[in-house]
């Protein structure tokens, strides 16, 4: 029986890869207990390091599924999602990621596949770190400092990511990014459902 959960996660990962640039190598796998999918991005420039390494996004395996030939997405709660770097369990360097790796989302969950994929792009590229997000939304951890210092360090890391990965310019425009991701997601799930 075809593993649609993994097929759909592969589609989502490929869209992130398409936007972030081909210097990032993506691979999906199941967690050791089989309950989560781990998206692994190799070639990511590590914060405060000249090295490149791995970034991980872990989310429930039930996030993407097929029911009665329909592609479905189960909204992801922030506590169910984790961003790591270098190794599983090690917090991803981002002002809006907590020490245990789970992100701080404004509405606490991601409702649509497009929104979830766009969030991965924005988190890896640190586009979702703004003056308002650090001053009004506050930082989830002090890994990049707090307030103005967090913003400054995030911008420095953002530049390092852009320089190393050469992502599409649309990453800085949420509307364009979401539109692009939505079109690609819809086209790909259409191809997939043709052969169901």
């Amino acid at each position: 029986m075809r593993d649609y959960a993994m097929d759909l996660a592969n589609i989502a990962a490929s869209i992130v890869n398409d936007v972030m640039g081909s210097n990032l190598k993506v691979k999906n796998s199941y967690s050791s207990d089989g309950n989560h999918i781990i998206m692994e991005f190799d070639g990511y420039p590590l914060y405060k390091s000249r090295r490149k390494g791995k970034a991980f996004v872990q989310f429930p395996r039930s996030t993407f599924y097929v029911r009665k030939k329909d592609i479905c997405f189960a909204p992801v709660q922030q506590a169910q999602c984790h961003y790591y770097q270098e190794q599983l369990g090690k917090q991803f360097a981002h002002p809006h990621v907590y020490n245990d790796g789970h992100p701080c989302w404004d509405n606490s969950k991601r409702e649509r596949a497009t929104d979830f994929i766009a969030n991965i792009v924005e988190t890896l590229s640190l586009q979702n770190v703004t003056r308002d997000s650090v001053n009004i939304g506050h930082c989830a951890s002090g890994i990049m400092g707090v307030s103005t210092e967090a913003l400054k360090n995030a911008k420095t890391q953002q530049q390092a990511v852009i320089k190393a990965l050469k992502p599409k310019t649309m990453i800085s425009d949420r509307r364009k990014l979401e539109s692009y991701i939505n079109k690609r997601w819809c086209a790909k799930i259409t191809y997939l459902t043709r052969d169901m």
């Binding site: 097929d7 592969n10 589609i11 990962a13 490929s14 869209i15 890869n17 398409d18 081909s22 599409k168 364009k176 539109s179 692009y180 991701i181 939505n182 079109k183 690609r184 086209a187 790909k188 191809y191 997939l192 043709r194 052969d195």
Partner: protein
């Protein structure tokens, strides 16, 4: 020109393609040169055999160029890419942006 061939589930392969070739010719040449990689774009062994014999289910198969905005432009399987104006124009736009064009390819078999 250099182009990315992408499978439905997102696996990508970089290929040198000739825009004076038809999509069907491009995919046949791909399979002849690298059967292992190319087989990932086919839904079944049967689809491979049919394409190599020049047959394809054009309704259920796809050879689509991804535009800069993320839309898909469906190519005709039996017309050279350079003779398909929408494809040719978008390839020029993509080239002007300094990006590599991506074609999403999926080949399904004809069923009786």
């Amino acid at each position: 020109m250099k182009a990315m061939i992408e499978t439905v589930t997102g696996m990508t392969m970089t290929r040198e393609i000739n825009i004076s070739d038809t999509p069907i010719h491009t995919i046949r040449a791909f399979y002849q040169e690298d059967a292992t990689a190319a087989s990932q774009i086919f839904s079944s062994e049967r689809a491979i055999g049919q394409l190599m014999d020049g047959h394809i289910d054009e309704d259920r198969s796809a050879f689509e160029l991804i535009t800069i905005e993320g839309d898909s432009i469906r190519a005709d399987w039996k017309t050279p890419l350079c003779n398909q104006p929408a494809i040719k124009e978008e390839l020029a736009r993509i080239e002007a942006e300094g990006e590599t064009p991506t074609f999403v390819v999926s080949v399904s078999s004809l069923v009786a």
